[in-house]
């Protein structure tokens, strides 16, 4: 597409500055069931999002229909939106950062591995899961390979491009011991195919399901609680949503007025590292601002809010490179979060707990979390901790509390940090006490 043409047409229509982004994605996925390919899918899509300044106001529009009418459509919709918006005048569009830390994260080797090899590995994964234990009676195994490319252009001449690709294998196991069914899910997301370890994945998914047999509830009270890394990441995300400057400026963040104050235990250090070379790598945001690595919380002290250009201007600071489309406006988001791990192994971490709970699954935190007050309540599963060791499984319990209080009660992390599928790298967390509901 000729984007200069777009800038010219937009200018003629009275849009003084404009920006256009195009995203392309292709994917292939395969699902197995009972040793047969049940679903096979090949996909490709593209979409364009454009925005501009008209009479000093910001407007945007997006479409997946790319033809001769695309530019006039986008221009008309930008003008319509900008004509109605009642917010204060928009920031001028960005002219560019001094330096961009571009890296190549596209792995051509992954693309070169034939699909037949990936299918063979998927079949192997399915077999391995069945072979782990006689009680495994159903398995769903899946593979997907995704490749995305994004391009950014604006009328100031800023041109940025980035592409990435990755794959994932997933296994869902159902085990039945004659009395009850238990399930578990494992997924592995990477761009480097040599890191795939099917044996380990199969073992993990089955061990996880089997360990849940014979679970019971627990007496309702406060317990020392250890959150598995992926469970803790859900709470880290909820916490980070309060560091978004827009929420702070609108007085709806838990962390308003708390910059450079202690908001959590000194064991908590959260960094955003978008420039680490992994599948989450991003070197520019949706406003064209260069991203950079930074501490958000250091030893329990809140070091920065996350800004886009508009919220940064309001606070008289620079954008932190966190601008991201949120519907029809540029909101704020983050990428590649690293939570500093501790020094103890998991066994050492739980050793001092006489009677506690290890949470390995939660359901319903999305609706059970009031991100504005920090109060939460959700369903959970896990294991009892007795005399410093993991004991019997627990199910149908509830976990409730307040987000800020919970991170103030953080006693530490284990040393075994792992990356979640959502891009947060962290270890298991020990919280002094949490409300567990049961009988």
């Amino acid at each position: 597409m000729n984007f200069d043409k777009f800038f010219q047409l937009a200018k003629e229509a009275g849009i003084t500055e404009s920006q256009i982004q195009i995203g392309r994605s292709t994917s292939t996925s395969i699902d197995l069931f009972h040793h047969e390919i049940e679903n096979y899918s090949v996909n490709s899509s593209q979409s364009v999002i454009a925005c501009g300044i008209y009479n000093g106001k910001f407007g945007s529009a997006r479409t997946e229909k790319l033809d001769k009418d695309t530019f006039p459509y986008l221009i008309n919709k930008i003008i319509l939106a900008a004509s109605k918006i009642e917010k204060e005048d928009a920031q001028p569009l960005f002219e560019g950062s001094n330096k961009y830390h571009k890296k190549n994260v596209f792995n051509a080797e992954l693309e070169a591995i034939p699909l037949s090899k990936k299918l063979e590995d998927l079949k192997k994964l399915e077999n391995l899961v069945y072979e782990q234990d006689k009680r495994v009676n159903e398995v769903e195994a899946g593979f997907a390979e995704i490749s995305t490319a994004s391009e950014f252009y604006n009328s100031h001449g800023l041109k940025l491009k980035q592409k990435r690709n990755y794959y994932y294998f997933s296994a869902y196991a159902v085990a039945n011991d004659g009395k009850e069914s238990k399930t578990n899910y494992e997924a592995f997301l990477e761009s480097d195919y040599s890191k795939l370890n099917l044996e380990e994945m199969a073992k993990k998914v089955v061990t996880g399901a089997i360990a849940k047999f014979g679970g019971d509830t627990i007496e309702s009270k406060k317990y020392p609680t250890v959150l598995r890394y992926d469970i803790c990441s859900a709470f880290i995300s909820a916490f980070l949503s309060s560091t978004i400057a827009d929420e702070v400026q609108r007085h709806s963040s838990l962390l308003e007025g708390k910059l450079n104050t202690k908001v959590a235990s000194s064991k908590l250090t959260i960094e955003e590292k978008p420039l680490v070379k992994n599948i989450f790598f991003t070197y520019f945001d949706d406003e064209g601002v260069a991203t950079y690595n930074k501490a958000i919380v250091k030893n329990g002290v809140l070091k920065t809010y996350l800004y886009n250009r508009e919220t940064a201007a309001k606070d008289g600071v620079e954008s932190t490179g966190n601008g991201a489309w949120e519907g029809s406006k540029i909101g704020t988001s983050y990428n590649s979060i690293y939570v500093k791990p501790g020094k103890q192994s998991f066994e050492e971490l739980i050793a001092p707990i006489e009677d506690g709970v290890y949470i390995t699954d939660i359901m319903g935190l999305g609706t059970g979390m009031n991100t504005r007050s920090g109060d939460f309540s959700c369903q959970a599963e896990g294991f009892r901790i007795r005399n410093g060791k993991l004991a019997e499984p627990l199910n149908l319990i509830t976990l409730s509390g307040n987000l800020l209080k919970m991170f103030k009660d953080l006693k530490g992390f284990s040393k075994e940090a792992k990356m979640t599928l959502g891009g947060t790298c962290l270890a298991d967390a020990y919280i002094k006490s949490m409300n567990i509901g049961g009988k």
């Binding site: 049940e38 490709s44 997006r62 999305g366 309540s377 509830t398 009988k439």
Partner: protein
Amino acid sequence: MISNALAKEVLNAALATGGDYAEIYLEQSDVESIVLDSGKIETVGTRQGYGAGIRILQKFRSVYGYTSDLSKKSLIKLATDLSASFEGERQIEVKNITKGKFKNVNPIKTHLMDVSADTRIAYLKECYEATKSVDPRIVRIQDALNFWKKNIRIYVAENENAKVFDTVEERGRLVMVAIAAGENNSIETSFEGPGASNGWEYFQSLDHKAKAIEVGKKAIALLSAKECPSGQFTVVIANGWGGVLFHEACGHPLEATATAKGLSVFSNSIGKQIASPIVSAWDDGTIENAWGSNSIDTEGVPTKKNELIRDGICVGFMVDRFNGRRLNMAPNGTARRESYKYAPTSRMSNTYIAAGKDNPEDIIKDTKLGIYVANFGGGSVEPTTGQFNFSASEAYIIRDGKICEMVKGCTLIGTGQEVLMNIDRVGNDLALGQGNCGSASGSIPVNVGQPTIRLSKITVGGRGGELK
């Protein structure tokens, strides 16, 4: 979007290697959204979706692909690529394409997209003023009107006579959020989101100002609510949106997506008792102008009123074409998808527990100690184990047959099997509530519903200690 002649070529390319069914799903969608933040127009958004999904079935195998390029070259390539995963001989050669017939269940007078931006804005400003008038402690108010229009064309080839279905889905939803700030930095949020597959007449008939006042009042009430107790209690659940419990705990496990592979707690349950004998339940995609209604599903099957549970006995599932093959059951108009980017599968539309005989006031009166859940935030379920959770956004203590103080932070957890059996009272006040359901084929609009019901016991999670 494409001609019948091209569709025939694409279907025949898809069926070249022995597929016994092929389908092209084409979509052009427009979404318009106006958002007010604290009374000021924050965004006016438009989004256009455009693409096609091609699916080929061969016995128990399914291949699916999509593209946003609807050129002949692109569609033929996609159909050929997909068909390459089968190795058989052609079974079907499409010769004719005729128009499929169905009844329109969502008649519309004033199309939403014809309503001017200024009219929508004026409506939203009335909502804002109404919420704002409630209490100065309301610190932020969000109001939005979201309108969707989808032009859909589906080609279905099961034999040499393929069918084409053209349908338009139009929906609108009003979203109102109030945020109240109280002492000690406490912040509470409340939400209302009425919507319908209907025209502007729906919004004109809605008492939007009264609803906006309710949203404000609820946020203020939450500021002084105590924490919900935890333990096993008797719980009365209000009608309407309370039906999300049935949706999560019982609806999802009754979708053929889960039952066909034996992965649901209700697999092989047809003819068996799965609920208390006072429970009957339906999934009805044909309720006129309802939020979850469509005239046809996304594989071209007309929607139906499907009976799921009769007097506690499981009598049906929601069945799509593909999973119906394993179950040996005919598709019943429940195959839905968010967009062309998803293959269709069996999903709920308007799903509810049917009205019973009890007066709702009597249900409360007959409850000595328990919790009254007036509204839920949402929830989720694991269909294989039946475990579910719901968080209540508005709940009260019931003491000596009376609704007493409000409590917050309340979660109900249990298994679908258990909760269905534990329903001991069913009211006569059936109502529906609107939501969006996310599952295998994306996020789709659904109505949940029920009359007031009582659960003899269920686990409640909260931070308020014992129930007294």
